[in-house]
C-alpha cells in the first residue's frame, strides 16, 4: 500500500512555524522529518512517523505555493487563494526575508549578480548554511535591490512599502542595498572582525546624513595647509591635555590620523575609491589607535575634540560641510572601534 496522493487544504491556511523554519533553512522533507522526530514531537502528540511525513509534505507544498507570492509581499495581502490571518501573513513575510548573519557578511558589498550567485556553493560550504537557504537569501537581496534601486525617496520607506517588512528588517535591507550599490569592500581580512550590525549601523548613518556630490575635496585644505594642520593639532592638544590616557600617543600620531580621516573624505568623491572606505577607516584610524591601546572613551574624546576644534580655525570656511562629514564619520568610527 503506497500513498499516491495525500493532501490537506484548510479554509484558513495552516502554517506551522517550526516547519516553516525548516523549509526556510533549506532542509529536504526527509531531513525536516528527521529533525522534527528529534524534537520529540512524536512523544508529545502520539503521532506516527508516517503522520509526520504527510504533515511535513503538506506544509512544504503550501510554502512552495506561497513562495511565488512572497516574492512580492503586497500580492500575498491581496491574493484570494490562501486565506491567512494578517498576523500570520506578517510572520511569513518577515521570516522569509530574514537572513543569516554569517551569510550576509559573505555577500555584503558584493555585486548582486550571477557571478556572485555562483559563489554561493562556497559560501554554503563555508558557513554551513544549506545552498537552498543561501539562494533564497541571495535572491531576496537581489530582488529588493532591483525594486528599490531606481526609486526616489527614503530607501527604508520604499523597502517597507514594497516588501512590507518590519522596521528593523527594512533598515537592514536598506544597508544591504546601500552596500551593494556602493560596492563597499567588507571581505578583507582586516575587516573580518566587523559584524553585519557594525556595517548596517554605518550604512544608516551614511544614508541619513550624506548625499552624493558634496564637494568633500574642500576639506583637504585641513591637511594640505601646514599652518592649518598645526593650528588644528594645537587646539586639540590644548583641549585634551590631561584628559586623555593616551595623550602622548595621540600627539605623536595626530598628523597621521588627521591625514587619514581627511583623505577618506577626498576619496569619497571618486566612485572607484569609495569601495575602500571601510578598509581606509580601519587602516588609517582604527588600527593605529588600537595598536596604541586607546580606550574607547579616549577615542570618543579625541573625535569630539578633533571635529569641534575646526570651528576655531578661522581660515577654514567649510564648517557646515565638515560637521556633516565628521558627524557621521565619528559615529561610524566609534562603532567600528572594537576588537
Amino acid at each position: 500500500m503506497t500513498s499516491e496522493l495525500d493532501i490537506f487544504v484548510g479554509n484558513t491556511t495552516l502554517i506551522d512555524e517550526d516547519v516553516y523554519r525548516l523549509w526556510l533553512d533549506g532542509y529536504s522533507v526527509t531531513d525536516a522529518v528527521a529533525l522534527r522526530v528529534r524534537s520529540g514531537i512524536l512523544e508529545q502528540t502520539g503521532a506516527t512517523a508516517a503522520v509526520l511525513q504527510s504533515d511535513t509534505m503538506d506544509h512544504y507544498r503550501t510554502f512552495h505555493m506561497l513562495e511565488r507570492l512572497l516574492h512580492a509581499p503586497p500580492k500575498l495581502l491581496h491574493q484570494l487563494i490562501f486565506q491567512i490571518p494578517p498576523s500570520r501573513q506578517a510572520l511569513l513575510i518577515e521570516r522569509y526575508y530574514a537572513f543569516d548573519e554569517a551569510f550576509v557578511r559573505e555577500v555584503l558589498g558584493k555585486k548582486l549578480s550571477k557571478g556572485t550567485k555562483k559563489d554561493l556553493d562556497d559560501i554554503s560550504t563555508k558557513t554551513g548554511i544549506t545552498l537552498k537557504s543561501c539562494r533564497r537569501q541571495f535572491d531576496n537581496f537581489k530582488r529588493v535591490f532591483k525594486v528599490v534601486e531606481e526609486m526616489r525617496g527614503s530607501l527604508v520607506d520604499n523597502i517597507q512599502q514594497h516588501f512590507l517588512l518590519s522596521d528593523r528588517l527594512a533598515r537592514d535591507y536598506a544597508a544591504i542595498v546601500f552596500f551593494a550599490n556602493n560596492r563597499f569592500e567588507t571581505g578583507k581580512k582586516k575587516l573580518q572582525y566587523l559584524s553585519f550590525g557594525d556595517f548596517a549601523f554605518c550604512a544608516e548613518l551614511m544614508i541619513q546624513n550624506w548625499t552624493l556630490g558634496a564637494d568633500l575635496k574642500e576639506l583637504k585644505v585641513l591637511v594640505a595647509d601646514k599652518d592649518l594642520l598645526d593650528l588644528h593639532k594645537s587646539l586639540v592638544c590644548t583641549a585634551l591635555r590631561g584628559k586623555l590616557g593616551v595623550f602622548s600617543e595621540m600627539e605623536a600620531n595626530f598628523k597621521n590620523l588627521s591625514r587619514g580621516l581627511v583623505n577618506v573624505a577626498a576619496k569619497l568623491t571618486h566612485n572607484k575609491d569609495v569601495r575602500d572606505l571601510f578598509v581606509d577607516l580601519v587602516e588609517k584610524f582604527v588600527e593605529p589607535c588600537r595598536s596604541d591601546h586607546w580606550p574607547l572613551s579616549d577615542v570618543r574624546f579625541f573625535l569630539n575634540q578633533y571635529s569641534a576644534s575646526v570651528h576655531s580655525l578661522d581660515g577654514f570656511r567649510h564648517q557646515a560641510l565638515w560637521d556633516r562629514y565628521m558627524g557621521t564619520l565619528r559615529g561610524c568610527l566609534l562603532r567600528l572601534y572594537h576588537d
Binding site: M1, T2, S3, E4, L5, D6, I7, F8, V9, G10, N11, T12, T13, L14, E17, T45, G46, A47, T48, A50, V51, L52, S54, D55, M57, D58, R61, T62, H64, M65, P74, K75, L77, H78, Q79, L80, I81, F82, Q83, P85, P86, S87, R88, Q89, A90, L91, I93, E94, R95, A98, D157, Q160, Q161, L164, L165, S166, D167, R168, L169, A170
Partner: protein, 1081 residues
C-alpha cells in the same frame, strides 16, 4: 417577468504576463450572457488594467436569468494573431433574482482557466432589474429561495413544510462528443463547465416551478448532484423539501429593511398565497405558453431534456399547469424557431407520455436495461424484509389516521431535512434504504429521458414501502446517491422512517395550529424514540423495553437514524464518530454478468456493514446512531462499503449489553484461553470508552420502577416465525439469526479478523472529539474558532495481495491514518471537535482507492461549565415572538446554546471576539510574532503604511454546519453551487498529483469565498463538496479533476458584536464594520 441584467467591468489585477517581449499584457474583457456579447476596450500594457467600463445591459427573460450563467472572459489582445484567453469567471446571478437576498454582486473574482488555474483577479459589478409581470403561466420560478441547509434556516420560520421535490435533467457529456477529438482540452472543459452550469440553472428553475405549484416559496435541504455516466451521458439531478417560509423579524440592528423601493421591483408574492387559479386554468395554459417565445440563447438547453415523476406531488385531481411541460418536447432544432403547431403537438404528446408514471411501472423492455434491486433496509435493531409488517397495527394506524391523510396525497412523503421544528417529529422507526444496480445505456434519444426517472421512482417506491412496514408514513433525512463504474451504476436512497405531526404539513393557518397545540401536549423528550410500529406485529425481531425516560411507551434497544440528534433529546455523555469499513473483491465482468455479480454481493455487504456498526456501537457503550450514511462504491474489481454515523447514548433507550465472544470449538483449551483473553480486551475497551465518553447512566431508576422489560428473546423468536415475505432476500436473515445480537461467534479466521479489527480503531487523542452530525452531543460551549478543511488521500494497492482481508486492512488503515493525520494537524485547536466529518470513497482505477474528507474543527471551552440553560437575553428574544410562532419556529437553541455564555466573559473572550473579527483564530493570534516583526500590530501599519494594508481581503468562513458558533446569521444571500474542471499536461512540474490537487482545492475554496464576498456575505454554511473526481495519467504527465461544491452564502454577526454595538458605539473592528457596512446598505 423579464429583466435587465447590467454588468460593469471595473478593473483587473495580478494578471499573468502574456507578452514575453514587454513582460506585460494588453487585456480586454468579453461579457457574455446568452448569445449576446459585449467587449471592453483593450487596456494596453498593464498587469493591473483599469477598464472602468460602461454598464453593459442585457435584456432577457427571467427564464434565461435563471438558467444562464454570466460569462466573463479576460483576453490578451493580439494584433496579428488570435487573441489569447487568460481565463474566465462564471457568475451565477440567481441570488439577485429573489428578494431578501443580495441586491448587487460586486467584488474581485479570481480569473480561472481550466489549464492554468487562477490567473489574476477581476473586479465586476452585476445588477438585475426585474419587471413585474402578471403572466402567471411563466416558465421561470424567480423568487423561490433555495437553501442547502437541511433544517429550517435560522432567520426563518416554517409555516408549512410541503414535502419532496425532485427533478433531473439529462444531456450528452461534451467530453464524449465527436467534436471533443478535435477541440482543445480547454475548450472541452469549458464546454462541460458551461453545460453543467446551464443544466443546474434549468434544474433549479424547474424545481422552483414545482414549489410554486405546491404553493411554497422555498426549497430547504436542496441537494443537487451530477452523474458522469460517461458515454451514456450526463445527468444532473436534485432533491429538496418544499416549504413555505416566513422571515422572522429579528431585533438585530444589523438587519436591513427589506422594503427599500428598489427591492420592491423584484418582490415576489412571497408570503401571500399564489393565486389558486393557477391550478384550475388547465386548458388555457398551453395557449398562454405560446406567447412565451424562447430566446435564441436557449439553443443550448434545447438539447437537454428532462422528465418528471412527481405529478402526484400536487393533489392528483388538480390539473397540472403545463408550463414546464414544454421541456419534455423532442429537442429538435426546429423548435427554436418557435413554430406554434409543433409546440402544441408536443405538449399533447408529452402529456400522454406521462401517464405511465402514475403507476410508476415503466417497462424496462424499452430501455433494454437490466435492473437488479435489492430490498433491504436497516431498522431499529436489525434488518428485516420490508414486507412483513405491512398490515401494521390497526390501533396505531387509527391514531395516525389524520397524519396519514395529509401525507397520503403525496407520492413520496419524503423530507430531505435532518433537523426539525420542535414537535414535528413524533416517532422514529429506523433507517430505510434501497439500492438498485442498473446498466447504463447511451441516451440515444433525448425524447426518452424517463428511464433515469423511472429508476429513481422505483427506488423511492421501495423506500416508501419500507417505511410503511415500519409503521411510518414518512421518511425524513432522505438522500439519494449513485456510484458509477463504466456501464454499471448503483443507485442508492436512504432515510429514516418516521411519524410526523400533521399540523406542519397541512395548508392550515397558524390559528389552526395554535388550537391544536392547546389540545395536545407537546411530545415528551423521549417521544421520538418510541416505536411507531405495532409491538405485536413487528416487522423484524427486536428487543423492546419500556422507555427509560417516561416508562409508558415501548422503545427498541438500539436506534439507527439518518437525521441529526433532535435538540430536545436527552443524551448521556458525549457522542463519537463510528465508522464501518468494508471491501469485497469482485471478478471483473461485463455488462449483465457484472451487474448480477454486484447485486449478489450487495446484501452481504449491507449485512456486514450493519454488523460492524452494531458491534462498534456496543464497544463504545452507546445505543443509538445518528446521521448514518452508508456509501457503497463500485469499482472494476471490488466493492467498497463505508458507513459513518455518530454514536450516542440516548437516555430513553436501555443500556446496551456487552459483546460476548463464543468459540465454536469449546473443547480446545488454548483456544478457550485465547477467547477469554479477547473477551477481556473487549470488556476493557467498553469500560474505557464509557469513561472516555462520560457515559454514566443513572442505574437507580430500574430498581425503583421494577423491571417492566418483557422477555425479548421469546418475543423475537415468535415474530421471526411470523415474518414471511416473497422477497428474494428473506433468506438473508439480517437480524443476526437465532443468536443473541451481542454474541460474536468465532468459527474461522475471518471472524477472528473481524474481532481484531474492532479493537484496532484508535480513539482520538485526548482533547479531540469527532462526529458526523451538526452538533456534538455533550458539547455546547463552542468558542468561535473554526477551521473547515478538505483532505484527500489516494492509495495504490499492490495487486499481489488482493484478498478480502488484505483489502479490508488497507482500507481500514487508510481511514484510520487519515483521521490520525487530521488530529495531528489540528492539534493547536485542542480542545476541539471535528464536526460533520464527511467521508467519501471512490475507486478511480483498478488498484486505487480514493478517500475524501470534509469536516470542520471547532474549538470549545473546556473550563466553562456546560451551559444548557439559556441566558436571559436569549430567552427574551424568543419570547418576543408570539407564542404560536415560538412553537413553530425552529429552535434557536442550536445557535444560542453553542455560544459561550455571556454572563461570565473572561478577558480571554474579549480577545477572542476581537481576533475573530480580523480573522485571526485565537490560538494563532496568541502566538507572539517575533519582536522583530511587528507587521501585524498597529505600530507597523502606522509607520510604514503600506498602500493597501487596510484593504486586505475580507475573511469568509466556510463550514459544513448550518450555523456559525458564537454568531447569528442575519441574512441568507443565496445558494452557491459551483462546478470546476482543472486539467494539466505538466503534472510533474505542478508538484505531482498532490501538488496539482492541493492547488486546485485551494483555488476552489478561493472562488467560493470570492463569490460569497461579492454577494456581500462573510460565510458559507452547509458547505459540501459533492464531488471530487480525480483522474491521472502519470505516464502522459497528465491529470484531470472535477469538483462540485455547494452551500448557502450568509451574513453573520458575532454575538459579541451585537452586544458591543448595543451598549457602546465606538471601537468596533475596522474590518468587521467594513463587511457589515456593505450588508446594511
Amino acid at each position: 417577468m423579464p429583466g435587465k441584467l447590467k454588468v460593469k467591468i471595473v478593473a483587473g489585477r495580478h494578471l499573468p504576463v502574456m507578452d514575453r517581449a514587454s513582460d506585460l499584457t494588453d487585456a480586454f474583457v468579453e461579457v457574455k450572457f446568452g448569445n449576446t456579447t459585449f467587449k471592453t476596450d483593450v487596456y494596453l500594457k498593464s498587469l493591473n488594467p483599469q477598464w472602468n467600463s460602461e454598464w453593459f445591459k442585457f435584456e432577457v427573460d427571467d427564464e434565461d436569468l435563471q438558467d444562464e450563467p454570466l460569462q466573463i472572459t479576460v483576453l490578451d489582445h493580439d494584433t496579428y494573431s488570435a487573441n489569447d484567453a487568460i481565463g474566465k469567471v462564471y457568475i451565477d446571478i440567481d441570488p439577485l433574482l429573489y428578494s431578501e437576498a443580495a441586491t448587487v454582486i460586486s467584488g474581485w473574482f479570481p480569473i480561472y482557466d481550466t489549464i492554468h488555474g487562477i490567473r489574476g483577479e477581476i473586479n465586476v459589478v452585476v445588477k438585475v432589474d426585474l419587471f413585474n409581470d402578471l403572466n402567471r403561466f411563466r416558465q421561470s420560478s424567480c423568487g423561490v429561495k433555495f437553501f442547502c441547509t437541511t433544517s429550517i434556516p435560522k432567520c426563518y420560520r416554517a409555516v408549512i413544510i410541503h414535502g419532496f421535490v425532485e427533478e433531473l435533467v439529462v444531456n450528452e457529456d461534451p467530453e464524449y462528443q465527436w467534436i471533443d477529438r478535435i477541440r482543445t482540452p480547454r475548450a472541452s472543459n469549458e464546454a462541460r463547465q458551461r453545460l453543467i452550469s446551464l443544466m443546474s440553472g434549468e434544474l433549479q428553475r424547474k424545481i422552483g416551478l414545482k414549489v410554486l405549484e405546491m404553493r411554497g416559496n422555498a426549497v430547504v435541504g436542496y441537494l443537487q448532484c451530477f452523474d458522469l455516466e460517461g458515454e451514456s451521458g450526463l445527468v444532473v439531478r436534485a432533491i429538496g423539501t418544499a416549504c413555505t417560509l416566513d422571515k422572522l423579524s429579528s431585533p438585530a440592528a444589523f438587519l436591513p429593511a427589506c422594503n427599500s423601493p428598489s427591492k420592491e421591483m423584484k418582490e415576489i408574492p412571497f408570503n401571500e398565497d399564489p393565486n389558486p387559479n393557477t391550478h384550475s386554468s388547465g386548458p388555457s395554459t398551453p395557449l398562454k405558453n405560446q406567447t412565451y417565445s424562447f430566446s435564441p440563447s436557449k439553443s443550448y438547453s434545447r438539447q437537454s431534456s428532462s422528465s418528471d415523476t412527481d405529478l402526484s406531488l400536487t393533489p392528483k385531481t388538480a390539473p397540472y399547469p403545463q408550463g414546464p411541460r414544454i421541456y419534455l418536447c423532442p429537442s429538435s432544432p426546429s423548435l427554436s424557431c418557435g413554430s406554434l403547431h409543433l409546440k402544441k403537438s408536443c405538449l399533447l404528446l408529452s402529456e400522454s407520455s406521462l401517464t405511465p408514471h402514475h403507476s410508476s411501472l415503466v417497462s424496462p423492455v424499452l430501455r433494454k436495461s437490466v435492473s437488479f434491486s435489492e430490498e433491504l433496509f436497516l431498522a431499529a435493531s436489525g434488518m428485516g424484509s420490508g414486507s412483513a409488517g405491512k398490515e401494521g397495527g390497526p390501533f396505531k394506524a387509527l391514531l395516525r389516521q389524520q397524519t396519514q391523510s395529509a401525507l397520503e396525497q403525496r407520492e413520496f412523503p419524503f423530507f430531505t431535512l435532518t433537523a426539525f421544528p420542535p414537535g414535528f417529529l413524533v416517532h422514529v422507526g429506523g433507517v430505510v434504504s434501497a439500492r438498485s444496480v442498473k446498466l447504463l445505456d447511451r441516451i440515444h434519444n433525448p425524447d426518452e429521458p424517463e428511464t433515469r426517472d423511472a429508476w429513481w421512482a422505483e427506488i423511492r417506491q421501495e423506500i416508501k414501502s419500507h417505511a410503511k412496514a415500519l409503521g411510518c408514513h414518512a421518511v425524513v433525512g432522505y438522500s439519494e446517491s449513485t456510484s458509477i463504474c463504466e456501464e454499471v451504476c448503483i443507485l442508492s436512497a436512504s432515510g429514516t422512517a418516521a411519524v410526523l405531526n400533521p399540523r406542519f404539513l397541512q395548508d392550515g393557518t397558524v390559528e389552526g395550529c395554535l388550537e391544536q397545540r392547546l389540545e395536545e401536549n407537546l411530545p415528551t423528550r423521549c417521544g421520538f424514540c418510541h416505536i411507531p410500529y405495532d409491538e405485536l406485529n413487528m416487522p423484524f425481531p427486536a428487543h423492546l423495553t419500556y422507555c427509560y425516560n417516561c416508562r409508558k411507551q415501548k422503545v427498541p434497544d438500539v436506534l439507527f437514524t439518518t437525521i441529526d440528534l433532535p435538540t430536545d433529546a436527552t443524551v448521556i455523555g458525549k457522542g463519537c464518530l463510528i465508522q464501518a469499513r468494508l471491501c469485497r473483491l469482485k471478478k471483473k465482468a461485463q455488462a449483465e454478468a457484472n451487474a448480477t455479480a454486484i447485486s449478489n454481493l450487495l446484501p452481504f455487504m449491507e449485512y456486514e456493514v450493519h454488523t460492524q456498526l452494531m458491534n462498534k456501537l456496543k464497544l463504545k457503550g452507546m445505543n443509538a446512531l445518528f446521521g448514518l450514511r452508508i456509501q457503497i462504491t463500485v469499482g472494476e474489481n471490488m466493492l467498497m462499503g463505508l458507513a459513518s454515523a455518530t454514536g450516542v447514548y440516548l437516555a430513553a433507550l436501555p443500556t446496551p449489553g456487552g459483546i460476548q465472544i463464543a468459540g465454536k470449538t469449546p473443547n480446545d483449551g488454548s483456544y478457550e484461553q485465547h477467547i477469554s483473553h479477547m473477551q477481556k480486551k473487549i470488556n476493557d475497551t467498553i469500560a474505557k470508552n464509557k469513561e472516555l465518553y462520560e457515559i454514566n447512566p443513572p442505574e437507580i431508576s430500574e430498581e425503583i420502577i421494577g423491571s417492566p422489560i418483557p422477555e425479548p428473546r421469546q418475543r423475537s423468536r415468535l415474530l421471526r416465525s411470523q415474518s414471511e415475505s416473497s422477497d428474494e432476500v428473506t433468506e438473508l436473515d439480517l437480524s443476526h439469526g437465532k443468536k443473541d445480537a451481542f454474541v460474536l461467534e468465532i468459527d474461522d479466521t475471518d471472524a477472528m479478523e473481524d474481532v481484531h479489527s474492532l479493537l484496532t480503531d484508535v480513539p482520538p487523542p485526548s482533547g479531540f472529539y469527532s462526529c458526523n452530525t451538526e452538533i456534538m452531543p455533550g458539547i455546547n460551549n463552542w468558542t468561535s474558532e473554526i477551521q473547515m478543511f478538505t483532505s484527500v488521500r489516494v492509495i495504490r494497492l499492490s495487486s499481489l495481495n488482493l484478498t478480502n482481508q488484505a483489502l479490508n486492512k488497507n482500507f481500514n488503515d487508510l481511514c484510520e491514518n487519515l483521521l490520525k493525520s487530521l488530529y495531528f494537524k489540528l492539534r493547536s485547536m485542542i480542545p476541539c471537535c471535528l464536526c460533520h466529518v464527511n467521508f467519501t470513497v471512490s475507486l478511480p482505477e483498478d488498484e486505487l482507492i480514493q478517500v475524501t474528507v470534509t469536516a470542520v474543527a471547532i474549538t470549545f471551552d473546556k473550563n466553562q461549565a456546560l451551559q444548557t440553560t439559556k441566558t436571559p437575553v436569549e430567552k427574551s428574544l424568543q419570547r418576543a415572538s408570539t407564542d404560536n410562532e415560538e412553537l413553530l419556529q425552529f429552535p434557536l437553541e442550536l445557535c444560542s446554546d453553542s455560544l459561550p455564555s455571556h454572563p461570565f466573559p473572561p478577558a480571554k473572550e474579549h480577545l477572542e471576539s476581537a481576533s475573530s473579527n480580523s480573522g485571526i483564530p485565537a490560538a494563532q493570534r496568541a502566538m507572539t510574532v517575533e519582536k522583530a516583526s511587528p507587521v501585524g500590530d498597529g505600530n507597523f501599519r502606522n509607520r510604514s503604511a503600506p498602500p493597501c494594508a487596510n484593504s486586505t481581503v475580507g475573511v469568509v468562513k466556510m463550514t459544513p454546519l448550518s450555523f456559525i458558533p458564537g454568531a447569528k446569521i442575519t441574512k441568507y444571500l443565496g445558494i452557491i453551487n459551483m462546478f470546476f474542471i482543472r486539467e494539466t499536461t505538466s503534472l510533474r512540474e505542478e508538484g505531482g498529483v498532490s501538488g496539482f490537487l492541493h492547488a486546485f482545492i485551494a483555488e476552489v475554496f478561493a472562488m467560493v469565498r470570492a463569490h460569497v464576498a461579492a454577494l456581500g456575505g462573510n460565510a458559507v454554511v452547509s458547505y459540501i463538496m459533492k464531488q471530487c473526481v480525480f483522474m491521472e495519467n502519470p505516464n502522459k504527465n497528465q491529470a484531470q479533476c472535477l469538483i462540485n461544491v455547494s452551500g448557502d452564502a450568509v451574513v453573520f454577526v458575532r454575538e459579541s458584536d451585537l452586544e458591543v454595538v448595543s451598549s457602546q458605539q465606538p471601537t468596533t473592528n475596522c474590518q468587521s464594520s467594513c463587511t457589515e457596512g456593505e450588508v446594511t446598505t
